[in-house]
Amino acid sequence: MTQDATNRQQPVPSELLEQVASAVAQQKAMDGGPTFLPHGCRLFRIASGWESNMIRRDKGVTSCETLLEFEAALRNPDVKVVFLTADAIITDADIEKICQRNGVTKTLFKEVKEA
């Protein structure tokens, strides 16, 4: 192998790229400020688009569409970040209620469709 070949930059693994993109998208969603929920949970809203897709696809994030899934995610100690899809059948009042009865602190992202 030539010296050139050894020095050539390896392409960045796509998985790493996705992680970085998700982190950027999460930080951007946080710029919009949180809705403070019971027990220190914070909900950040993010407009539907590439950024919300990045968060949804993140392996460290659990995506939920129903209240049963949402509550299961809150109760799972291995889940830290929860993503609620734009089509989820979950209202804001539901989120507040479920967070209130499960005393746990997690980070929530809610995808919203822009008008």
Partner: protein
């Protein structure tokens, strides 16, 4: 397959626990090198007399520290314990809660009574969260039958919740039969969300555990829906009813915590048969058996009884009961004497200023900076940077626990933690006053008897201030939202082509911390008015306005005399990224601005930032500039677009101001030409860079007009500009009293100043000198710059630098300058604003513009009129020595 996983010691019965198991759970809190804040009564001596007082101190004991018995790693426990720390007045309860959670403790209950929103259930759940990663069940007891804590009738959906999942699927797809929809709407309101007349969601877990008296009706409804939807025949869609252990027994068996929220709002008389269980839970009994009254009811299966035994108790089991104060409302009931006697409720004190401040800080930055600062003040003052690093470590570790990142706003605020402490104290005092003014019950005793007619119980309930209100206010203030223009601001309406989407200008992104203080205080100002003045409560409004002034919420509320002594909340919380003390970070920002500017001004440049200039080069340049003494020498540093020297490593070059006034005074001819002038864009780019812009804004001022005015004293006549006339012919003392001259020299004690510069401009008409007018408020670090069109890549950075740039050729230039001047001169007296116009005229000849000749133009008109010529121009010249920053 055999499950070899050893259960957590928290979930192991005491009889099976070994000393090493208990030891493995110990996480000390409050040791000599990691003291933990604590609030309590101590004897304090005053003039030889000792009185008991409530004080904030620490627990710092290596032999007997507080202990959290936790499955979590120490790092997580410590970060959570410091970040989510209860308010100072609740710390004794926190301490007590830890003591009762010791594995050998026989009392496994804690009952707290307090106002709504005081943080009772949060405190209960926090203790559980500190111990385990599993959630703590918080059961809302409001209106519930407390017998169901022991045994409950539940809906049984079979394994995997097949029926709920099938219904959810159809609900989401909108394919539920209309009759099913109608039936589901009739389910108990607490488990169904209805939006626009249709069922949006069903809380199946809530429905499973619905009150016993509602469970049968729910069962019948779901049976019908199941049939209508054809789900009754599908495999796994089982639906039944069963009696099972209630949450209290389940938690006892599992060795977990439970919070019984609003216990004194539960249904009256339903907790009678819990008395022996409470006796067991507080350690009075070693054993107690409870029978299931639901057993064999309607042939349901289930346990017939349960025996609580001390030896079966697991360290993780704990019951927190919370209750609202009796005056909270009709649904709150007084508990019977035996409950009070057994559970010994602890009443939360009313929050004090220190508590408000604590919570404000937690909501603003994620940890109680104020309490930590008060506790460790000496060390924090001695080494603020290290203290700040520690705060950031705590916050970042907590974010790791929660799986998220630290929001940028919080990072910035924590890097400026002193601003947070200062502003939160003022906010806390303001909220404390607001709370007292809106507390109808205590209004006569807390110094607000004059508000009796305006503040009644109803108003108190609706608009009284509690921690939840602060939360709402911060939620409103954090995001950047569209702002309403001033009522008299001109508006332009394009009446054509409304079918087309409007073309928006290039976005000028703003850092969320840049105007956070303004957003928060403006919102508070609005709330104060809307909740008092606008709803017919003039006395309350007046008092709140006075409180806003007293605690310096907005710059405008600061009195002139007080201005120099204290910073407003607004000012403290408006934090620019450019203020970062770390020069490396400043250099990074400056490099980004410079490279974006360079690529925009020459689109042929495709090079990356690293290819244009290395980070180190920029750090060196900024280091050299920050050390340079330039204010007296009028030396500036501007962007360098000369490829040769740029690629030699000089992104910034030196420039100098040459003042025509000094040439006139010395009777010398101008000795430089148009080619020597610095380009308009290069100077503007310098203002958009941290350190560089700030340095340049200190170096554009002079006192060169004074000699001229003394020389001209004989020549002074009515034709001289008004301000100049005041000084001309009257040397010394009168000049020294001329406020406008001070303003033109940046020596006014009002900290407002204005001057003008001449730079090179190139357009289709060729090259020519143009004016750049500067109006600066040093106290507020706001600068208005009016000149030609600025490169759009500089606009975001201008915001960070506190520079408001207005293109004088912009159709809305007048409006923009008016708004900027209003912002910059906010709080100044009208006479100072008048002097500002005169100060401008020291350098500029208003009559040189045909449009303004013979009139008395306003400053706005003078600033935007490109025909106004400078009488004594101050030219920005490339430095003769071709000196580059960092050389």
């Amino acid at each position: 397959m055999k499950n070899d996983k050893k259960p957590s010691p928290l979930k192991t019965p005491m009889k099976d626990l070994k000393p090493e198991d208990v030891k493995s759970l110990e996480r000390p809190l409050g040791t000599s090198d990691r003291p933990y804040p604590m609030w309590g009564s101590q004897r304090i001596e005053h003039n030889g007399r000792a009185d008991l007082e409530q004080v904030l101190s620490v627990i710092a004991d290596d032999t007997y520290p507080m202990k959290v018995f936790s499955e979590r790693p120490y790092k997580e426990v410590i970060a959570m314990a410091y970040c989510d720390m209860p308010t100072p007045s609740m710390l004794p309860l926190f301490f007590d809660g830890l003591e009762r959670r010791k594995p050998d403790s026989t009392n496994r209950t804690q009952m707290m009574i307090g106002d709504p929103g005081a943080g009772k259930s949060f405190l209960g759940a926090l203790q559980g969260r500190l111990r385990s990663k599993e959630p703590v069940e918080v059961l809302d007891c409001g209106g519930k039958n407390m017998r169901e804590l022991l045994f409950e009738m539940v809906l049984d959906f079979g394994a995997g919740d097949a029926l709920p999942k099938s219904i959810d699927k159809r609900l989401q797809a909108g394919t539920l039969e209309p009759m099913s929809m109608a039936l589901l709407k009739a389910l108990p309101s607490e488990v169904v969300s209805i939006e626009d007349g249709t069922v949006k969601s069903i809380d199946w877990n809530g429905l499973k555990a619905i009150n016993n008296d509602k469970v049968e009706a729910a069962f019948e409804t779901l049976k019908k829906v199941s049939k209508i939807e054809g789900l009754d025949n599908a495999g796994g869609n089982a639906l039944g009813m069963n009696s099972q252990y209630g949450p209290l027994i389940r938690k006892f068996m599992a060795g977990e915590e439970i919070v019984l929220d609003e216990y004194n709002k539960s249904r009256e008389g339903t907790d009678d048969n819990l008395q022996t269980v409470w006796q067991f839970c507080i350690g009075e009994l070693k054993e107690c058996t409870v029978e299931n009254p639901l057993k064999n009811k309607d042939a349901t299966a289930g346990p017939s009884e349960f025996t609580f035994r001390r030896e079966d108790m697991k360290p993780g089991f704990f019951v927190t009961l919370t209750g609202n104060k009796k005056e909270d409302g009709v649904t709150t009931r007084s508990l019977n004497k035996s409950v009070y006697s057994r559970l010994s409720p602890q009443t939360l004190p009313d929050p004090d200023v220190i508590d408000w401040q604590h919570r404000i800080c937690q909501m603003m930055v994620g940890l109680p900076v104020s309490t930590l600062y008060t506790t460790f003040k000496e060390q924090a003052d001695k080494d603020p940077d290290q203290f700040g690093e520690w705060l950031l470590w705590l916050r970042r570790t907590k974010a790791e626990v929660e799986g998220g990142k630290v929001p940028e706003l919080q990072e910035t605020l924590l890097q400026n933690w002193k601003n947070v402490v200062n502003s939160s104290e003022k906010l806390a005092r303001f909220y404390d006053k607001w709370q007292k003014m809106t507390d109808a019950e205590k209004i006569t005793s807390n110094g607000n008897p004059d508000l009796v007619e305006e503040v009644d119980d109803e108003y108190s309930k609706k608009e009284g201030i509690d921690f939840r209100k602060i939360k709402q206010h911060l939620e409103e203030a954090i995001p950047i939202r569209p702002r309403m223009l001033k009522e008299d601001a001109p508006r332009a309406l394009d009446l054509k082509a409304w079918e087309k989407v409007p073309s928006l200008g290039e976005p000028v992104v703003e850092n969320s911390s840049l105007n956070f203080g303004t957003r928060l205080t403006e919102f508070l100002e609005r709330m104060v008015y809307e909740k008092s003045g606008a709803v017919g409560k003039p006395k309350l409004y007046n008092k709140l306005q006075k409180a806003m002034q007293e605690f310096a919420l907005r710059d405008i509320t600061l009195q002139e005399a007080a201005r120099s002594k204290q910073r407003s909340v607004e000012e403290d919380l408006n934090i620019s990224a450019f203020n970062d003390r770390d020069l490396t970070k400043q250099a990074k920002m400056a490099r980004n601005v410079f490279c974006d500017f360079l690529r925009q001004s020459n689109p042929e440049i495709k090079a990356t930032n690293d290819e244009i200039v290395t980070p180190k080069t920029f750090v060196d340049a900024l280091t050299a500039i920050s050390k340079a003494e330039t204010a007296k020498s009028n030396e500036l540093f501007v962007a360098n677009r000369d490829p040769e020297s740029l690629y030699a490593g000089h992104p910034l070059v030196s420039a100098i101001i040459k003042d025509a006034a000094t040439y006139v005074a010395a009777k010398k001819e101008i000795d430089f030409g148009l080619n020597d002038l610095v380009h308009h864009d290069d100077f503007l780019a310098s203002l958009a860079m941290p350190t560089v812009g700030a340095k340049n804004l200190t170096a554009v001022w002079d006192q060169n007009l004074r000699p001229l005015m003394t020389n001209r004293q004989e020549a002074a006549n009515a034709n001289t500009p008004p301000a100049a006339a005041a000084g001309a012919g009257t040397p010394g003392p009168v000049m020294d009293l001329d406020e406008s001259l001070y303003i033109a020299e940046n020596r006014s004690d009002k900290k407002i100043a204005t001057t003008s510069l001449q730079v090179l401009w190139t357009d289709e008409q060729g090259e020519r000198p143009v004016s750049i007018h500067i109006v600066r408020n040093e106290t507020r670090n706001k600068t208005l710059v009016v000149s030609e069109k600025a490169p759009s890549k500089l606009l975001s950075a201008f915001k960070e630098a506190g520079v408001i740039h207005v293109d004088r050729n912009d159709a809305n230039a007048v409006t923009k300058v008016e708004q900027a001047l209003a912002e910059i001169t906010r709080g100044l007296t009208p006479s100072v604003k008048e002097r500002l116009v005169d100060a401008f005229k020291y350098r500029n000849d208003a009559d040189s513009s045909p449009a303004l000749k013979g009139k008395e133009p306003k400053l706005t008109e003078l600033l935007v009129d490109g025909n106004v010529e400078m009488m004594y121009p101050k030219y920005v010249i490339k430095n003769d020595k071709k000196k580059a920053a960092g050389m």
